[in-house]
Amino acid sequence: MTNILAVLAIFSGLFFFLSGSIGLLRLPDIFTRLHALAKADNIGLAFIALGVIMLESDILNNIKIVIIWLLVMAASAISSHLVARHALREHRSDD
Amino acid sequence: MISEQLLYSLAGIGLFGIGLRATLLHHMLIPRLLALNVCGAGVFLIFITIAYAGAESRPDAVPHALVLTGIVVAVSATAMSLALGRRLEALNDE
């Protein structure tokens, strides 16, 4: 039962990653791409982390997985912010 | 088991070939350096494939150590080449 749920979670995570990647490739400009990438990937990673936690019984490892997820979220938020701000400034200086 | 080894070592050779070709074709510094790094990654992949002994057995640690050395040497050489290029650009601008 847990296994099935875990696999389901991981697959939905993969789905979010896939849509994030498609967004990265298909969307027209840098802001929408960032949007797709950061949001979809964070949720995707959350689902995958959830699935892996269900499969893993060691509590310490589970805590590590959660920490990794939080770190990646923070890093992707900040780097998206920096990329977007840089792009915005270049955008303005172009005008 | 052999088939995995074969697959990855062929991939290593392919990477080596792609990098080698681009190194010989490019004459600008950064593309050539990227190509050299790709070429090196191919050699590393060959090493690691040799070390891999199947899903159940323990891999050979020696090639792992060699590749670790190789990665560090590669990054040093990259840093140095980029610095040389930067100096040349600065002299060109003067």
Partner: protein, 323 residues
């Protein structure tokens, strides 16, 4: 079924790897080439993990993709952004293509034969057999810092030579300043975390994946992050300290080696009882040196005042000459 899935996984990793490599080498946009190169580095890290080389996966992610990527990214600002593909004549291009293809086929043929020909006697058995007396239980660390420690010593010399060259050639780069309160906020709590992680990697390298190079690169990342987020703070580093940190790794290595030479008549021959401690001391110092070296390499040149000592010296000798 499972085997089939593994094959599909392997095949897609390999194809993606080759595609990224091809993209890196053939695109005309420098920025794109560097991005693809970094992506290739991350994919390689996954492949190393797949091939049961976790030490390398760590090293590739931090050094191969991370530090190399950062070096390239900061360098491309100094360059034109389009690649003029080749100034070679079509004939020469054809020759290069044919030559590379022939070489690839030849090597594949050799490997096809070679995979079956080994007599199975590898160093791996010896490594496992001798690991208990090497002082560490992670076989990769045992090879790097005991069995083939001399290679690692020379490798540190390579790193030092490269950084010295960077320092002699240019002044440091000042252009890349990213001041953002968000980044500064994150840096505040990320840097301590990176330092702790680096220490953990160093310590854990004795019995699990990790070690001086990964730890050093991690520490370098922390230094780089600090310099990016707080551009004004870097002047407070004492340059004497930086010099000292740069050489301390090799120096400790050599001193321990000579000590063992005097003790056991063989260079770098550690006593099994002491080996673990000695390796940890060497690795700690090497971590500091590697971190300093990589961070200086990222800056792209010498910090302000790096050669003051030599300059003062020259002034004084000139005065002596005049007097």
């Amino acid at each position: 079924m499972i085997e089939l899935l593994w094959s599909v996984f392997d095949l897609s990793l390999v194809l993606l790897l080759l595609a990224l490599a091809w993209g890196t080498c053939s695109t005309r946009d420098v920025m794109r080439a560097v991005t693809l190169f970094i992506a290739m580095g991350l994919l390689l890290a996954i492949i190393w993990a797949r091939l049961k080389a976790p030490d390398l996966a760590l090293a590739e992610a931090v050094i191969g993709a991370g530090i190399s990527g950062a070096l390239f990214l900061s360098a491309i600002k100094d360059y034109p952004s389009t690649i003029t593909v080749s100034h070679r004549t079509p004939v020469l291009q054809g020759l290069i293509n044919a030559f590379t293809l022939a070489l690839v086929i030849l090597m594949s043929w050799a490997v096809w034969h070679g995979l079956n020909m080994s007599d199975g006697i590898r160093l791996s058995d010896q490594v496992v057999a001798q690991a208990p007396v090497s002082g560490v239980s992670n076989p990769v660390t045992a090879v790097l810092l005991n069995f083939r420690a001399y290679d690692t010593l020379l490798e540190l010399a390579v790193v030092l030579t490269a950084v010295l060259t960077v320092l002699t050639l240019n002044d440091r780069r000042y252009s890349h300043v990213v001041s953002s309160p968000l980044l500064q906020g994150m840096t505040h709590w990320l840097v301590p975390l990176l330092v702790v992680t680096s220490g953990y990697l160093l310590w854990v390298g004795a019995h699990a994946p990790g070690g001086a190079f990964q730890a050093g690169a991690m520490l370098a990342a922390a230094m780089i992050l600090l310099q990016l987020a707080f551009p004004s703070r870097r002047q407070q580093f004492s340059l004497y300290l930086v010099r000292f940190l740069l050489v301390i790794g090799i120096f400790t290595f050599v001193v321990v080696g000579i000590w063992m030479l005097l003790l056991n008549d063989v260079f770098l021959a550690f006593d099994p009882d002491w080996a673990g401690t000695l390796i940890l001391i060497i690795e700690t110092m090497a971590t500091l040196s590697i971190a300093t070296a990589l961070a200086l390499a990222y800056l792209g040149g010498r910090p302000m005042g790096w050669e003051e000592g030599a300059r003062n010296n020259s002034a004084s000798t000139e005065n002596e000459g005049a007097g």
